[in-house]
């Protein structure tokens, strides 16, 4: 026991050393602050450390305290409204309107005064609303009322007065002032009481004052060499240190950076582009018939203004039109309906990053083949926000344009990507998209939940997509799985809305993407 205390003493922080002896005289936090001459926070920190060493216990006590409100401050400076009122008719009766002008009181306050003073028989009021003072009124004006006395006392006390400690006559004034608007404010005041433990009781009687140990190594000590032959105070190494935060990228962007890096390593070029697109690029160029349900209002965001955009050059528009209507020169029958330019001009928020692939194909020259492109970007679906649906979400897009590309290559690229993202197992199922054939649904195996997670689609672009855009019929492998679910899994987030909630606590504390 003796040794324990000795060790305890040797590790005491200077703040603790300063506070401990004061506990002989007082056990109230605010008094300790006053006596120590330290800041609130320093005293509290010392007490908390001591509490963690089981020297003492801190007990919180909450009390109602009184301070002046806005009108209370005004009344203290200029006088209570009823006093101002009486003052203005002290020498001669006045009309109500004149009193209002003279005193600067509001109509509401004047009315309140009349009510109050009539009750005390301090004034008379006639039919023309001229008001005169009575003898009783003169006496009220002379004498300092209980309310005024209380206001003065509250303002003169250094600390807020506890409501429980009012004298009886003050209590009466308190109740009456409380009914009046903004005269008084009651605030909840916290106070802390210190209860010493058995160790604390011993410690408080001991002489802790050894100042020979070095608390902090200073430049001056180093210069003078005064640290020599002295001891350093041993620290409580396990004590918690105040938390500091580092700057960091948003966790979704960390994951996106990783995805981009993987595609770059695999020799893909990045595609970027607008989020507002014409339906032509978002749908028509991707062989999505104009009456396809995805083009309905409930799935896609349409831009109100500017409602329509421009179509690209006529040659391309004609080719796309024919691909839809009769298959053009692709060997397809097309969708067999009348394709309309106006429908294609409608501006939408892109529903998939595949729109970037369509644009890339239209720009690409034959000499540039084979070529590989990727994109990671925001897409939009007109959905109500809930725990598993976002109206803005990320897709990772890729295309490979290569005359020798085949279905096995498609699966190869995808498998490799997900492996590098940390998913050893990926599964491919037949799917359906208007612009791909073969169409693939991609699932990855959730290593913790032990189940398959659906990520979205991939495939080989249909000739009806490729030929109008690229002018040659070359296989184009394409994919655009959703990206957000991968992020959810890594960061152990269950509600998809948390991805873009921007709660600073979450952003400050969340781990780094490390996979």
């Amino acid at each position: 026991m003796a040794n324990d205390i000795k060790e305890l003493v040797s590790k005491l922080h200077p703040l603790e050393r300063k506070i401990m002896p004061l506990l002989r005289q007082s056990s109230v936090f605010s008094e300790l602050v006053k006596k120590s001459g330290l800041k609130d926070i320093e005293v509290m920190r010392a007490l908390q450390w001591l509490q963690s060493k089981e020297v003492l216990k801190i007990k919180e006590d909450v009390k109602e305290a009184i301070t002046l409100g806005e009108n209370g401050k005004k009344a203290l400076e200029k006088g209570l409204p009823e006093k101002l009122f009486l003052e203005s008719i002290k020498h001669k009766p006045r009309h109500m309107d004149d009193i209002e002008k003279e005193t600067g009181l509001s109509r509401q306050e004047v009315n309140a005064c009349i009510g109050l003073l009539k009750g005390k028989a301090a004034i008379n009021i006639n039919a023309q609303r001229v008001i005169s003072i009575t003898n009783q009124g003169a006496a009220v004006l002379e004498k300092e009322g209980l309310e005024e006395a209380l206001l003065k006392r509250i303002s003169s006390e250094e600390m807020d007065i506890e409501a429980g400690k009012l004298k009886d006559e003050e209590r009466f004034a308190f109740e009456s002032l409380k009914k009046r608007k903004d005269m008084l404010k009651t605030v909840l005041k916290k106070e802390w009481h210190i209860i010493l433990s058995s160790i604390g009781k011993k410690l408080v009687t001991m002489n802790l004052g050894s100042e020979k140990v070095i608390e902090r190594l200073t430049p001056a000590m180093l210069k003078a060499g005064s640290w020599k032959n002295k001891e350093f105070r041993a620290y409580e190494l396990k004590a918690k240190v105040p938390r500091v935060y580092r700057g960091k990228r948003h966790f979704v962007n960390q994951a996106i950076s990783q995805a981009k890096k993987i595609w770059l390593e695999m020799g893909f070029k990045e595609m970027t582009g607008e989020m507002v697109q014409t339906s032509f690029w978002n749908f028509d160029a991707l062989f999505t018939a104009q009456d396809h349900p995805v083009r309905d209002m409930q799935d896609t965001f349409f831009i109100k203004s500017p409602e329509k955009g421009k179509l690209p050059d006529k040659k391309l528009v004609d080719a796309v039109k024919h691909a839809h209507e009769d298959g053009w020169t692709t060997g397809s029958t097309g969708w067999q309906y009348e394709w309309k330019e106006e429908e294609a001009k409608k501006n939408v928020l892109r529903t998939h990053t595949t729109v970037l692939s369509a644009r890339t194909l239209a720009r690409l020259k034959k000499e540039e083949l084979p070529a590989k492109f990727f994109a990671v970007g925001r897409c939009f679906r007109n959905e109500t926000l809930d725990w598993c649906h976002l109206f803005e979400f990320n897709q990772t897009e890729g295309i490979v344009i290569d005359k020798d590309a085949n279905f096995r290559h498609l699966l190869g690229y995808l498998k490799q990507f997900f492996k590098k993202m940390g998913y050893e197992k990926a599964r491919f199922r037949p799917g359906y998209f208007p612009y791909t054939e073969f169409s693939v649904e991609i699932d990855i195996y959730h290593p913790v939940h032990k189940k398959w997670v659906e990520l979205g689609g991939a495939g080989i672009f249909r000739p009806e997509v490729v030929k109008p855009l690229l002018r040659v019929d070359v296989p184009v492998l394409a994919w655009g799985p959703g990206f957000d679910r991968i992020i959810l899994e890594f960061f152990k987030i269950n509600d998809i809305r948390e991805l873009y909630k921007n709660d600073l606590k979450q952003l400050r504390e969340i781990k780094e993407w490390m996979r």
Binding site: G247, K248, R249, H250, N253, S257, K260, L264, G267, F268, E270, T272, V276, D291, P293, M297, F301, F302, I303, K304, P306, K308, K310, P312, G327, T330, S332, G334, W335, N347, L349, A371, R378, E383, L385, F391, E392, D402, D404, N406, F407, H409, L411, G412, K415, Q416, R427, R429, G431, Y432, E437, F438, S439, I460, R462, P463, N502, L504, K505, R508
Partner: protein
């Protein structure tokens, strides 16, 4: 996309083979439909829109039984020639309104509650998907005993069309039906503005229906007593009508019915429907193998085709009449891949050399983010869609925004024109979190610009917000110094008036005489609008313009 519910026992009987739940689950998924759940005897499956032929229990079972190897190859359906009066006369007036129809008769059906439900469900699902909500085509089914052949397909003035529609208690005329009948109101837009409405009429001059709206109560209601039915599909695409009719009659044949053809008079020479003759497509073995990345022999391909319900004869693929999704040889190639099994393909990365390359703007954005992260700032990520009020009124700044026409909620109805308001919104949602709060975000800023293809310009932008007791102009100017120091470009500040900032404490950021951004102390009213009780400073910088200036060099 429609879900269909299958009864496991019925399915097993139709397939002619018993499968465990796991096998069923696996085979259904690998056939290219999305299994939702198996619960007891009930299987729920999502059918993709390219396979309307799988929307009935019968059609689904037909595909699945071929796929599992129980009954492979092209299924033969017998179409008998009907009597002389098995005729539909198409009159001139209807050709301008709703030009095509495709009809059939199916006899000897054994109707019970379940089979009626099945037929109605198939009809409804075809209406929604393949029929694009009856816009492209509509289907009518009538008990043969209630009508007298031949049928006339014509168009009349709506006031002259009179019959009692299904689910109504009295006779109505064509216009009344659109106004008063529930189905009429729902589909009125499909006949809107037409002078004549299409009708099917029998030889007793009884109206059968007014497509695509409603059948007659008297002649168009199938019951458990019904054995023989007349089926018509009407619409605008004759090929699609034939496919739709094939889907229905083959499903009915699988229920035990006998198919009879009808002659269409006035549609051209000798047109008889339904035609279940398979379409023949050349098989290009080389093309198929090239796309699959396999080396399959002709005989192997024949087996695979048969697993998908095709026939194969003399290097030709026989495509069943009910398949509506075969537009191009690639569609057959995909079916071969499905039959081969996606799980059996060996993924391969080919040896193709290409050079990876990151987008220039992406590189610049990452660099800027790294500089700012180095100063301790935290990056945020918000939506591009914003609340108009937060963006303009709360910022004391009226901007003409790009607006969405059909947003679900007003919270997300506009595209942001700068990013600082998003950061203010974040600060306002974090007032209970520790200060100082120092954040930044990179993203798109949307502006009207007639010169652009869509009429919208999407520049890249950076915003920084610093909020806390010590946030002042010095602090945000230091951030700009760090940023511009990193780019090694000189900048100047020019005092500016902007309602979002305190007057005399806001400046434009000028580089080479070009205004590329703004910084300053946020106006207390802005802070109060967002419920923020701490001073804040902010910066917005046009990264697209900065990028162009950086490329220019000194």
């Amino acid at each position: 996309m429609p879900n269909i519910t299958l009864n496991k026992k019925v399915l097993e009987k139709l397939i002619g083979k018993k499968l465990s739940d796991d096998e069923l689950q696996d085979r259904i998924s690998m056939l290219g439909t999305d299994l939702q759940k198996i619960e007891g005897n009930e299987i729920t499956v999502e059918v993709f829109p390219n396979r309307p032929d799988m929307l009935s229990e019968q059609g689904f079972a037909r595909a699945l039984s071929a796929f599992v190897g129980a009954k492979t190859g092209l299924k033969d359906y017998k179409v008998s020639k009907g009597g002389k009066d098995y005729q539909v006369i198409i009159q001139e007036p209807v050709k301008k309104v709703r030009p095509y129809t495709s009809c059939a008769i199916v006899k000897s059906l054994k109707m019970d509650g379940d089979s009626i439900k099945e037929i109605i469900s198939l009809q409804e699902k075809l209406h929604i998907t393949f029929g694009r909500n009856r816009k492209k085509l509509a289907i009518g089914i009538y008990p043969l005993e209630k009508i007298k052949l031949p049928i006339t397909y014509t168009a009349k003035k709506p006031r002259n069309i009179k019959f009692q529609p299904l689910e109504a208690s009295q006779e109505m005329d064509g216009l009344e039906m659109l106004q008063k009948h529930p189905a009429g109101r729902e589909y009125a837009h499909l006949l809107e503005g037409k002078e004549l409405f299409p009708v099917f009429i029998d030889s007793n001059d009884e109206v059968l229906s007014m497509p695509p709206i409603i059948n007659s109560h008297k002649t168009g209601k199938v019951t458990e007593k019904t054995k023989d039915v007349f089926i018509e599909c009407s619409g605008f695409d004759f090929k699609a009508l034939n496919q739709c009719l094939s889907i229905i009659v083959t499903a009915m044949a699988d229920m035990g019915g006998e198919i009879y053809s009808m002659a269409l008079e006035g549609a051209g020479k000798n047109i008889i429907t339904p035609s279940l003759v398979p379409e023949e497509k050349e098989l290009d073995l080389k093309y198929i193998n090239k796309m699959l990345g396999l080396e399959l022999k002709e005989s192997e391909i024949k087996t695979l085709l048969e697993k998908m319900g095709y026939g194969y004869r003399d290097k030709k693929v026989l495509v069943p009449a009910y398949r509506a999704d075969i537009l191009h040889p690639i569609d057959i190639a995909e079916d071969i891949a499905i039959a081969y099994g996606y799980e059996n393909f060996e993924p391969e990365i080919p040896n193709v050399s290409t050079i990876g390359e990151e987008d220039e703007m992406s590189i610049l954005k990452t660099r800027i983010a790294n500089v700012l992260v180095g100063t301790g700032l935290i990056e945020t990520s918000s939506y591009n869609l914003v609340n108009k009020d937060n963006h303009s009124a709360k910022m004391r700044n009226q901007a003409e925004l790009v607006e969405v026409g059909n947003a679900v909620t007003k919270e997300y109805s506009c595209l942001r024109s700068w990013i600082l308001p998003s950061l203010m919104q974040i600060l306002s949602e974090n007032t209970s979190r520790e200060y100082p709060q120092e954040i930044f975000e990179l993203g798109s800023a949307f502006h009207h610009d007639k010169a652009k293809e869509t009429g919208v310009d999407e520049g890249q932008s950076l915003a920084i917000a610093i909020c806390g007791a010590d946030a002042d102009f010095t602090r945000i100017k230091q951030m700009l110094d760090i940023l511009m120091g990193a780019t090694d470009k000189k900048y100047e500040l020019k005092e500016t008036n902007h309602n979002s900032f305190i007057k005399g404490r806001a400046a434009s950021i000028m580089v080479y005489g070009q205004n590329i951004g703004i910084l300053g102390e946020l106006h207390p009213e802005v802070l109060s609008n967002f419920g923020i009780e701490m001073p804040a400073v902010g910066l917005e910088l046009n990264i697209s313009e900065l990028h162009d200036l950086l490329k220019k060099g000194d």
